[in-house]
Point group: C2
Chain length 251, copies 2
């Protein structure tokens, strides 16, 4: 029998929310299976890398980003603790399964320089630029908009990033909190689709980034809008993590 | 805002295979959401218990159980290591997302008496007995048949357990290894459905236990057989783990 491949242990920091963690893990295992096929490794359990998923309760990220002062750092403590434990388990690269939590990416990475902490928005921006995309719309949480995570990453990759208006953002937050996180997917789908349609029509967009891990759980297509590419950052990040697990150097 | 619930940290030992680990986690998060609703807790990320999933490479369980002597213990070492790490992370109860690996349940539990290691076959047998089921068919790996895991658990709960014949078992192994683990779900479905149909018709069964976590990934119904209840032990075990996380004492 062929020897199992040499893989690196990787980690996933989730729980924000837990269903999005499941979805991220599903993307990751699928991306690993693609690596197994591409590398002609034996298609068996032992061809997969060791990986650990931490689903920990983290205070609400958007609420923290709207608070001035020290309260705004509330999510940092449990994120640091979980990342430290993933590092102690041997994880060499870690992905955070939450867009908004990337507001603390810099502080987390600085505290654990021995671990490569992937950056969701940068992975997405690079992947889209490589595909020749020049302009996107972004559906996200208020916290992600405020932190400028995608605006910066897109600008660095030479992409223009359009965001919804104030009332539309409130509708997105309703879809995320009263919809997906509360288990009402029909409400969520309604909120997300309405904002998506308006944003796409206003700017004549062909690509929409679903920049909150809860959004793809309820929005898989926008009724009435044809030929629109919906980009799930979790799928892009999961693929980047799988590549690291099989030993690919960072891009 | 209502205080978050008091929950216990729990662990999941997976990787056997990794896709089955994803499926187990999905069942677990869904079972937690049901607990949140039943306990009238706020429907938000922070109402979920901290949980850790270890997906580690473990040598093939059935191959080990077919080997006489020390080779038969190969899977024990990585299982012990992962369980020890889950215990160190604070997990009070742990579920193993693989039926066959339960052949080492006794040794694992003995080494970590401070952690409650749930037993998949016992949880299933108790749940079925509570529903008034008296007779089941079992689809499983050769290793699970040989270990007598379900035979014992079913007998203790007063249920009769019918198993497939030799050639049918070989067909199941083909569906598990060349099918699910190799990514060929169509082949897997074909193998599983054929054995299920023959077993059900031979004994006039109304309940079939899918006693390998790979089987439910390809078999969600048996074409041509009406009114058959397919029991997914992973779903039953995930529910038991969720109950423990919200503080329920073992049954």
């Amino acid at each position: 029998m062929q020897a199992p491949p040499r893989t690196l242990t990787v980690g996933i920091l989730g729980g924000m929310g837990p269903a999005a963690g499941v979805d991220f893990l599903r993307h990751f295992v699928q991306a690993c299976a693609e690596q197994v096929r591409a590398l002609h490794l034996p298609p068996c359990d032992q061809s997969f890398p060791e990986h650990w998923l931490a689903q920990v309760p983290v205070p609400d990220r958007t609420a923290a980003l709207q608070q001035p002062g020290a309260g705004g750092h509330q999510p940092l403590e449990p994120l640091l603790q979980a990342l430290g434990r993933l590092a102690a388990l041997g994880a060499r690269s870690v992905a955070i399964a939450c867009n908004t939590a990337h507001a603390w990416h810099g502080e987390l990475q600085a505290r654990f320089p021995g671990v490569e902490l992937l950056h969701m928005a940068r992975e997405v921006a690079q992947a889209l630029a490589a595909r020749g995309v020049r302009e996107v719309g972004l559906l996200a949480t208020e916290g992600t908009y405020r932190s400028g995570l995608y605006a910066q990453a897109m600008a660095q990759a030479g992409l223009r990033c359009h965001v919804p208006q104030r009332g539309e953002r409130e509708l997105l937050m309703r879809g995320i909190y009263d919809g997906v996180k509360a288990g009402d997917l029909a409400l969520a789908q309604q909120c997300f689709a309405a904002v998506a349609r308006d944003l796409v029509e206003r700017h004549g967009l062909a690509t929409l980034v679903l920049g909150c891990t809860e959004i793809p759980l309820a929005l898989t297509q926008v009724p009435g809008v044809d030929g629109l590419a919906l980009v799930d950052p979790a799928a892009v990040l999961a693929q980047a993590l799988a590549q690291r697990a099989y030993g690919a150097a960072p891009a």
